[in-house]
C-alpha cells in the first residue's frame, strides 16, 4: 500500500513537473520543487525519518544530508528501505529523477549539506588518470578493494562493488558518506581530485581481462579455490588415468 501510494504520488508529481534534472551544487531550488519534495517526503520518508527529517530511533536525521545524500540514497534505490537490516542495498530506484530532485530540494532546504554535482563537475575528460589511481588506492581501495569490487566490513555491512556506479553516484557518495562510508569532503579531496578518482573507477569498469576468467577479481581467495578444486582435481584425474591398468 505504501509503495502504491508512493508510486501514485510520484506519477502525479511527475505529470505536474517534468523539468530536467541537472542541478548545480549551489543552485537555488525552486519553491515548487521544495513544496513538492515536502509532500513526497511526508508520504514516503517521514514514517522513519520523522516529519521534520529529524530522525528517529530507527532512522538517522537527514539534517545535513544535503541534496547529494538524497540523490545517492534514493537514486540508487537504497531508499526507501526494502527491509530493516544492517545495510540498505541498491535496487531499481522507486522515484523518478524529477521526484528525487524535489526530495533533494526539500532536504537541502532544511539544513545546509553537500550539493549534487553540475555537469562540469562530472566532466572527467581532462582529469589525470595516474593521480586518480593514487588517490583511489589511498582513500577508496581499503574498503572497495583494488579492483573496485567491494569487500566485507563488520556487523553485516559491506562496501559495495563500484562496477555499476555512475560518476554522479560516485561523486555524491564521496561528499555525503552514505551509511557506513565516511565523508570525503571537497576540502580534503577537491572536485578536480574527485574527477580523477571517477576517471580511475571508469577505467576499472571498462577494463578487459586479458587472462580470461577473472574469478570475480577477488584475488587469492577465488584464485586459490579455483586452483585447489579445478587444478588439483584435474591432476588427480590424470594420476588415476596413469594408474589404471589398460584393457
Amino acid at each position: 500500500m505504501l509503495l502504491l501510494a508512493l508510486l501514485g504520488t510520484g506519477v502525479i508529481y511527475a505529470a505536474v513537473d517534468s523539468g530536467t534534472s541537472a542541478q548545480a551544487a549551489d543552485q537555488k531550488w525552486s519553491e515548487a520543487q521544495i513544496e513538492g519534495g515536502k509532500k513526497l517526503f511526508a508520504e514516503g520518508c517521514s514514517s522513519c525519518h520523522g516529519l521534520n527529517a529529524q530522525g528517529s530511533a530507527i532512522a538517522p536525521t537527514l539534517l545535513g544530508a544535503g541534496a547529494a545524500g538524497v540523490d545517492f540514497q534514493v537514486g540508487t534505490g537504497r531508499m526507501p528501505l526494502a527491509a530493516p537490516g544492517a545495510q540498505a542495498v541498491a535496487k531499481p530506484p522507486v522515484y523518478s529523477q524529477t521526484e528525487i530532485d524535489a526530495l533533494a530540494a526539500y532536504v537541502s532546504s532544511l539544513a545546509p549539506g553537500p550539493g549534487v554535482p553540475t555537469a562540469e563537475q562530472l566532466d572527467i575528460a581532462t582529469a589525470d588518470l595516474a593521480t586518480g589511481g593514487e588517490l583511489f588506492r589511498t582513500n577508496c581501495a581499503q574498503c572497495h578493494s583494488f579492483a573496485g569490487k567491494g569487500g566485507a566490513l563488520s556487523d553485516g555491512t559491506a562496501a559495495p562493488s563500484l562496477m555499476d556506479a555512475t560518476p554522479r553516484q560516485i561523486y555524491t557518495a564521496m561528499v555525503s558518506g552514505p551509511q557506513s562510508m565516511p565523508i570525503f569532503g571537497n576540502g580534503t579531496i577537491t572536485v578536480e581530485e574527485k574527477q580523477t578518482i571517477i576517471k580511475w573507477i571508469a577505467g576499472l569498469q571498462a577494463d578487459d581481462n586479458p587472462g580470461g576468467l577473472a574469478l570475480g577479481r577477488l584475488g587469492p581467495v577465488t584464485e586459490g579455490l579455483f586452483v585447489w578444486l579445478i587444478g588439483l582435481g584435474a591432476l588427480i584425474l590424470v594420476a588415476i588415468w596413469i594408474g589404471v591398468k589398460a584393457k
Partner: protein, 378 residues
C-alpha cells in the same frame, strides 16, 4: 614387442614361470622362494598372485596397430600445435580482445598462445602414457621385501670394528685430548650467538630497534597534510563523519634525501571527525586541552596487530576495521580493541591548529606504532 609380452602372458599363469624373469629383478628372496609357492621372510605363505589378464593390444594385432596409430597421432598433433604457436605469436594481434562463453572477454593472443603450447605439451605426455599403457611390455613383477635389521653376525662385526677403533684412537686413554675436544665442541655455538646478538643489542650511539619503532617523524607543530596530494588541512575542511588519510608535511623532505618508505610506514595516519559529545574517552589530554580538536581525532594508520595499514572507518559505529585479521577498534573510545587479535589500541596523535589555522601535531605518538614487540614493555 608383442611376442615378448605374449611369452610373459603365458608364463604368468603358473608359478613355474616366475623364476625366468623374477630372478633378475626381484633378488635373492624370490630366488629361494621359487619352488612350490612363495614364502615370505616371516615364514608366512605369500598371497597367490592375481591372474594375469592380457590387454587387447597384446592378443589382437589390429588393436595394437590402433594404439600405435593413436599415440603417433597425439605426437603429430603436438608438432602441429608447436608450429601453430609460432604462427599465432607472429600473426595474432596483441591488443585484440575476444569474447568467450562462460569465460568472458580475454586477449586473443594469450588464448591462442596458451592453448597451443599447453595442449602440445599435454599431448606429448598423454601420448607417452598411452604408449606405455597399451604397447610397452606388460610384465608383472613380484618384489619381496625383507626385514630392515642386519644379520646378527653383521651387527657383531660392526661393534667389533667400533671397539677396536676406540681403543686404537686412544679416545679412552688420552684424557686431555678427550676433554679439550668436548670443550671445543661445546663452544661451537658461541660465534653464532655473538653474531645473532646484533639483532637485539646495538652500539650505544645508535638508536635501539625499540626506539626506531617508537620514533616517527611527527613533531610538535608539524603540519598534517593529505596523503597523495600533500595539502595542509583546516578543521573546517573536515565534515563530521569525514575521513582523511594523512602524512606529516615533512615526509616530502625526507623523501628527497633518503626515500621515505620507512618514515611513511611509521607516520601514516588517519583523521576522523565526530561530534565532540560522541567521544567517550581519549588516550591522553586534559579537559582543558584534549587531544582532539573540536572532534577531530588523529590515529596511527598502522594496525597494532601485525602492521597492516588500515583506514576502514565505519562512520556510524566509529569503528576502525583491519581487513587482514578483523581487529576492530572503537575510535570514539580511545581506539580500544573491541574485536580481533590486536592487543593494544591504535596510537592517538594529539592535534591542534597553528597560527594560520591549519591542523598540526602536538608531538609524536605517545605509544609505539605498529605491532607489539618484546622490548616495548607494554
Amino acid at each position: 614387442m608383442s611376442d615378448l609380452t605374449t611369452t610373459n602372458t603365458g608364463a604368468a599363469d603358473g608359478d613355474h614361470g616366475h623364476h625366468g624373469h623374477d630372478g633378475a629383478t626381484a633378488g635373492e628372496h624370490a630366488e629361494h622362494a621359487e619352488h612350490t609357492e612363495l614364502v615370505l621372510p616371516n615364514g608366512r605363505p605369500a598371497p597367490a598372485p592375481l591372474p594375469h589378464e592380457p590387454r587387447r593390444a597384446d592378443i589382437d594385432p589390429t588393436a595394437a596397430k590402433r594404439a600405435e596409430r593413436q599415440v603417433s597421432i597425439m605426437f603429430t598433433l603436438a608438432i602441429l600445435l608447436f608450429l601453430l604457436f609460432v604462427v599465432a605469436y607472429a600473426a595474432v594481434d596483441k591488443t585484440t580482445v575476444i569474447a568467450l562463453p562462460a569465460i568472458g572477454t580475454m586477449s586473443a593472443s594469450n588464448l591462442t598462445l596458451g592453448v597451443t603450447f599447453g595442449l602440445a605439451i599435454f599431448l606429448i605426455g598423454a601420448g607417452a602414457i598411452h604408449w606405455a599403457k597399451k604397447l610397452m611390455p606388460d610384465v608383472e613383477v613380484v618384489q619381496l621385501r625383507h626385514d630392515l635389521v642386519s644379520e646378527p653376525q653383521d651387527r657383531a662385526e660392526a661393534l667389533e670394528i667400533f671397539d677396536a677403533g676406540a681403543v686404537d684412537s686412544g679416545f679412552g686413554q688420552r684424557r686431555i685430548i678427550r676433554r679439550t675436544l668436548i670443550a671445543a665442541m661445546a663452544l661451537f655455538p658461541i660465534p653464532l650467538v655473538v653474531i645473532l646478538r646484533d639483532l637485539w643489542v646495538t652500539p650505544p650511539d645508535s638508536p635501539t630497534p625499540s626506539a626506531l619503532l617508537k620514533e616517527t617523524i611527527w613533531t610538535k607543530g608539524e603540519r598534517i597534510v593529505t596523503d597523495g596530494s600533500y595539502q595542509p588541512i583546516r578543521p573546517e575542511d573536515i565534515p563530521v563523519g569525514g575521513l582523511v588519510n594523512v602524512v606529516p608535511a615533512s615526509l616530502l623532505e625526507v623523501e628527497e634525501t633518503e626515500g621515505n618508505l620507512n618514515a611513511r610506514a611509521k607516520a601514516s595516519s588517519i583523521i576522523v571527525r565526530m561530534r565532540p559529545e560522541e567521544i567517550r574517552s581519549q588516550q591522553g589530554g586534559t579537559p582543558e586541552e584534549p587531544w582532539d580538536y573540536q572532534g577531530i581525532l588523529v590515529f596511527s594508520k598502522i594496525c597494532t596487530h601485525v602492521g597492516c595499514p588500515i583506514s576502514l572507518y565505519q562512520k556510524r559505529t566509529h569503528q576502525l576495521l583491519c581487513p587482514c585479521h578483523q581487529s576492530t577498534f572503537d575510535l570514539a573510545d580511545s581506539a580500544k580493541v573491541v574485536f580481533g587479535p590486536a592487543a593494544r589500541p591504535m596510537p592517538q596523535l594529539a592535534v591542534t591548529v597553528d597560527s594560520e589555522g591549519y591542523l598540526v601535531a602536538r608531538g609524536d605518538f605517545q605509544s609505539h606504532i605498529g605491532p607489539s614487540f618484546w622490548e616495548q614493555g607494554s
